[in-house]
Symmetry: C2
Subunit: 123 residues, 2 copies
């Protein structure tokens, strides 16, 4: 993977912020430094950076995918009022410490990604 100027800016932006952004927000931010970067380039690079494990995605019930430069495994909390995404280290099932901080949890989703038994046997 070539380290292009565009890819470098996208990655350093995500790493510099401890927050979560969708493709358009990243596009707007990076455009301040590379004014003529195109949205397609942002999408392509985000895809490659995810593939490479440099960044991770957050899938919410919102229509767009959010990207996160903080790749240590953690739990995300999406607020239905302000739409902010919060990080939590807690990995248990009770989420007691999150509730204790004043967060109200309506639902939680755990999704694993990988290869199923049948597909593993085929390959």
């Amino acid at each position: 993977m070539r380290l292009t100027h565009q890819r470098e800016e996208i990655l350093s932006f995500l790493r510099s912020k401890r927050a979560h952004y969708n493709a358009v927000e990243i596009y707007d931010a990076v455009r301040e430094r590379i004014p003529n970067i195109s949205l397609g380039t942002v999408y392509r690079n985000l895809g490659k950076l995810v593939e490479d494990g440099e960044i991770i995605t957050v899938e919410t019930d919102n229509r767009s995918i959010y990207y996160d430069g903080y790749i240590v495994p953690h739990t995300h909390f999406v607020c239905k009022c302000c739409s902010q995404i919060f990080d939590f280290e807690e990995e248990g099932q009770s989420f007691k410490s999150i509730r204790d901080k004043g967060f109200t949890i309506d639902k939680h989703r755990t999704v694993l990604y990988g290869t199923c038994t049948v597909c593993n046997e085929k390959n």
Copy 2:
């Protein structure tokens, strides 16, 4: 909430299958029984059924939302080869029993939905 013919068919379809379908798949299935149902009606009713807690959604890194009539809390596994979604009761963090069944896990995502501390204090 009015229990219309359309809503009934959508709900009973999802409850009859222990699998996960996106809006278009549900549309195709229900159309066999209500040929002139519209895709908009399917989307609207799915939204209301989710609101009501009759069904749940599965958010994957795929672009479309999947719907599940099985509402007991559980973990989902998405296969990157066949795109199938599997259910697991296991709620721990090791997912040992899932791996033991022959599944390979690349990544896992836990997302909580609710209201954050600041928004809770505002209301």
